[in-house]
């Protein structure tokens, strides 16, 4: 198999040479004044108008948003009373508990029963153990605060997602309008819209809940639309023939058929809501996120890690539980009248332990004396690494920093912006013709006219390097994970941990070992963005058709040849999609790494947040989204092309 470079490849090689020459001799170019537009100011003025003036006649826009906030506040307080505070009357010194919150034993019993109901005893015990972990490690109360906000945010996210998703499936025009907004909701960092949410919905946990919903809802919308559209036409026709009204067709035929897919969306909403725990706690959500932030602020690394692991335990328990519900078959444990008494027993048990809490405090809240802690272990570990291995780590860091990171940064910053715009437009043209080229050009210009070119290039540098390293680590790990079931399971557990552990937890130890700066940021981004690189590679390799692999073996290929000549090329489209996801995650980490002093678009968003500058935040946030969308569209087009070449997808114009 000899590789014949096509004309396109030659063209790109020449363009690369020109780019290098330009970076060397031409240098950066300023954006002329007439091209710069004060979009940030316009957004801020619009926001001012919305908050202070906008009115529907009888009531103002702000009245409306505040009413929504009230409507969410009420159930939230009710859930908190049930889980955390109980029904208390009176002030701290003379407080009287009228009704205590549900006891810790009761809650563990409930989640265990849910596990049994959703699948079997094994799952029930697993979920129960996760919650017991929260109690044993002294995280119970914070965990219940977090759980309370999840219990409110998730149903709102699901309901909103269903409504918008159904609308999208029924009216294609609506779908076309809302898709770009969903793209933005998923790629604009949350920090960018926290300020307007605070203005409109007031300070407090409700704003945090709303931000969580905005972030967690888009996958539900997309999955709903997709699931409803992909219901087989026979089933649709059957609904029509049976004489269903359109409403019956939706609620009795389409939604039940799409249920398994919809449950995948529910799972996504839960996991994304948990991802928001830290950011939500910055504006008053409290709970585990607040514990993580607060402990790391006083450098109590052990406590931060424990609270972070509690988030992981909660996330894993809720994840497994919702997945089990998604695949649950009717007739499993808990259905039917004969199981009715089990539910009565459970209810009685929960009520009894809760009421007995009046007499026996240990039933009410887990006794502090029984808690276990690993706090000092973690801080001692970081200290030990710091004292014994800092010099070695520093040496590695310096080599990478001086030979890779800094030269690459200088190179990107030296490029003249019209040239870069031309390159991405050309790439768009090659992969997707006019429409993609126009999109790339428009999004690139958005960054230019807003005067954010330099931070955008810094973003490109930081993400580019991180994604490259994540891919270099992820691909071999993916190959390993695909090679045997056992390796796959171990690596899978590691990935789950990395994805649910709040990045802030490891950010501070990383700073202690690698100092403030781009290198620490890069490590944090790589750790966070590694997961999809591994996961998609493993999945792609596993799903290569066995016949092709066997054909290779028959031809006498060695194992290495099968991997490099057959499996990897066939898995290329999947690997590219994994790369795409890696880029998305890397970009979403930027705002977090702004906390260790990077100077990119993430920092612009963060600065805007601390200055409560709506316009600057939104414009910088949309610039990040612009980079994400360009990367996403180009890679998706590239992956489609490769699939067509490999014959995995029919070629059509």
């Amino acid at each position: 198999m000899t590789w014949q470079p096509s004309r396109a490849v030659w063209m790109w090689l020449v363009l690369l040479a020109v780019t290098l020459a330009l970076a060397r001799w031409a240098g950066p170019m300023a954006v002329p004044g007439w091209m710069q537009i004060d979009m940030a100011g316009a957004v801020s003025r619009f926001m001012d108008w919305l908050v202070n003036t906008a009115s529907f006649g009888l009531f103002t826009f702000k009245d409306l948003t505040r009413a929504i906030a009230q409507a969410i506040e009420w159930p939230y307080q009710a859930v908190r009373m049930a889980l955390v505070e109980g029904w208390v009357e009176g002030r701290r010194s003379e407080a009287r508990t009228i009704l205590p919150p549900i006891s810790w034993i009761g809650i563990i019993a409930i989640v265990t029963a849910m596990g049994v109901y959703a699948r079997n005893w094994r799952l029930g015990l697993f979920v129960g153990a996760c919650f017991l972990y929260l109690a044993v490690f002294g995280q119970w109360e914070s965990a219940m605060v977090t759980l309370a906000s999840i219990l409110i945010a998730v149903p709102i996210g699901i309901a909103g997602g269903l409504v918008l998703g159904i609308a999208g499936a029924v009216w294609p025009a609506f779908d076309r309008v809302q898709t770009p907004f969903l793209d933005l909701m998923q790629t604009v960092p949350t920090f960018a819209y926290l300020v307007p949410i605070l203005f409109l919905f007031g300070f407090g946990p409700v704003s945090a809940l709303i931000a969580t919903v905005v972030y967690a809802m888009p996958p539900m919308v997309r999955i709903t639309t997709m699931a409803l559209k992909s219901v087989p036409s026979e089933i649709r026709d059957f609904g029509v023939m049976a004489g269903c009204t359109p409403r019956q067709r939706l609620t009795r035929v389409l939604l039940p058929t799409a249920l398994p897919d919809l449950m995948v969306g529910v799972n996504q909403v839960i996991m994304l809501s948990l991802n928001m725990v830290i950011i939500a706690s910055m504006i008053g959500a409290g709970g585990l996120g607040f514990d993580v932030l607060n402990s790391l602020r006083r450098l109590d690394i052990g406590r931060g890690i424990e609270a972070g692991l509690a988030i992981v335990a909660l996330a894993i328990a809720l994840d497994r539980l919702s997945q089990a519900f998604a695949t649950r078959r009717p007739g499993a444990a808990g259905d039917g009248a004969r199981h009715m008494r089990w539910w009565v027993v459970l209810a009685a048990f929960v009520a009894a332990t809760t009421l007995l809490g009046y007499v026996v405090p240990a039933l009410q809240s887990y006794p502090e004396a029984w808690t276990v802690t690993t706090r000092s272990l973690w801080s001692d570990l970081v200290k030990w690494i710091n004292i014994n291995y800092y010099d070695q780590l520093e040496a590695v860091k310096n080599v990478l920093l001086l030979n890779l990171l800094l030269p690459f940064k200088r190179f990107l910053l030296a490029l003249p912006w019209p040239w870069v715009l031309a390159l991405i437009t050309l790439a768009g043209w090659q992969l997707g013709r006019g429409r993609l080229a126009a999109l790339c050009l428009a999004l690139g210009l958005f960054i230019v006219v807003n005067g954010l070119w330099e931070p955008a290039m810094t973003t490109l540098y930081l993400c580019g390097i991180s994604v490259m390293i994540a891919a270099l680590i992820g691909l071999p790990l993916g190959v390993l994970a695909a090679s045997s079931e056992r390796a796959g399971r171990i690596i899978g557990t590691g990935i789950d941990l990395l994805q649910t552990l709040p990045s802030f937890v490891y950010l501070i130890p990383v700073v202690m070992l690698f100092r403030v700066g781009d290198f620490s940021a890069m490590i944090a981004i790589v750790l966070y963005a590694l997961a999809p690189a591994i996961r998609y590679a493993a999945h792609g390799l596993r799903s290569v058709p066995e016949e092709i692999v066997e054909a290779g073996a028959v031809c006498g290929c060695t194992r290495w040849q099968i991997l490099t000549r057959i499996r990897l090329p066939m898995a290329l489209p999947e690997i590219m999609l994994g790369l795409n996801q890696t880029i998305m995650l890397a970009l979403s980490m930027l705002v977090i790494t702004a906390l260790v002093g990077t100077r990119d678009l993430g920092q612009e968003v963060y600065i805007a947040l601390t200055r409560a500058d709506t316009g600057q935040g939104i414009v910088a946030g949309v610039s990040i989204a612009a980079i994400a969308i360009i990367a996403d569209r180009l890679i998706a087009a590239g992956a489609r092309r490769t699939r067509r070449k490999l014959g995995l997808e029919p070629a059509h114009p």
């Binding site: 307080q77 009176g90 914070s142 790494t593």
Partner: protein, 316 residues
């Protein structure tokens, strides 16, 4: 009851709602909403004031809010009282908010904010000329890292906190590169790391804070701050540049929504009367952050030990 429901936990885990039927007659039973930020000293100050107001019979809500973003809420009356606005970092935002009269300054908390370049005591061996700023250039090598060499490395505050360090380095001709930490936590993580290894570090530290209590060290002595030095290039050592001096030190202010004085005049008077000094505050911060005692216990101890002081604030 329903009222209590609404008030309870408005500000998350730390927003201990103190709302309830008041024993003494107060002007309004609506809760006074006080803001909480992300540093321990402010949490102590605010909780102290909240407990005192509560003793006087007021209802108080504690709400988590961003230090600068809170001014939007204070102007509209969404938020009522902010207990710590530092002269050094919050002056501009405070001036902007008080300009139209919607926010009022309720006077100093009695605490003095200090913010300056700082080094751990063991660095005196490598650089005997310290704390005088003129010794900095002689020791630039000692403070250098691979990235900044031959210049020294100075770890500055988050960009948003201001402080004019880049201008200061320029104006005083210092051979240092300013690296901005993104947050307070990152800043002190580096200090902790360097201190464990007794390694060189030069960074921005502020007080009242636990760091100068936990680590032994000193502030650099720059030419003293003056308003002219910041505003007028010709003043100070460098005739062509402003900011050729140290950072201002100044009071930590209390501010409130202008409506507080009308709605709860007694509370406004009590907040105005509140004072505490740096050492007392430092001691409380140390008990919480270094010894890990719960904030509520530390605040309660102060209340017990200083009954006469706080009773005077509420005129009892």
């Amino acid at each position: 009851m329903s009222y209590y429901l609404r008030a309870a936990g408005l500000g998350g885990a730390l927003a201990l709602s103190l709302a309830a039927a008041a024993p003494a007659a107060v002007e309004s039973e609506d809760p006074i909403r006080m803001t909480l930020h992300d540093w321990t000293g402010q949490l102590v100050t605010t909780n102290l004031m909240a407990r005192v107001l509560e003793e006087a019979g007021y209802n108080v809500d504690l709400v988590q809010a961003d230090y600068l973003a809170q001014f939007a809420g204070l102007k509209t009356g969404d938020l009522h009282v902010a207990m710590e606005i530092w002269e050094t970092t919050g002056r501009e935002a405070m001036d902007e908010a008080t300009a139209d009269g919607s926010v009022v300054n309720l006077g100093s908390t009695g605490m003095e904010a200090i913010e300056e370049w700082w080094y751990p005591a063991y660095m005196k061996e490598a650089c005997p000329g310290l704390p005088d700023w003129q010794a900095l250039n002689d020791c630039a090598e000692a403070f250098a890292t691979a990235e900044t060499a031959p210049k020294g490395r100075y770890l500055g505050a988050p960009v948003t906190w201001g402080g004019f360090d880049d201008e200061r380095v320029e104006a005083l001709g210092l051979d240092y590169e300013v690296i901005h930490a993104g947050t307070d936590a990152a800043l002190f993580a580096e200090l902790e790391s360097a201190y464990q290894r007794q390694a060189p570090i030069l960074l921005w530290v502020y007080a009242p804070h636990w760091a100068p209590l936990k680590y032994e060290g000193e502030w650099i002595e720059f030419p003293p701050y003056s308003a002219e030095c910041y505003n007028d290039p010709s003043a100070g050592l460098n005739p062509d540049a402003a900011h050729d001096c140290g950072k201002p030190r100044g009071p930590i202010w209390k501010v409130a929504w202008s409506g507080v004085a009308d709605k709860w005049p007694g509370a406004a008077a009590a907040i105005e009367a509140f004072t505490i000094d740096n050492d007392t505050m430092g001691g409380m911060i140390a008990r919480i952050d270094l010894d890990g005692e719960p904030l509520d216990d530390v605040v309660a101890d102060w209340m017990d030990a200083n009954e006469a002081t706080w009773k005077a604030w509420i005129g009892q």
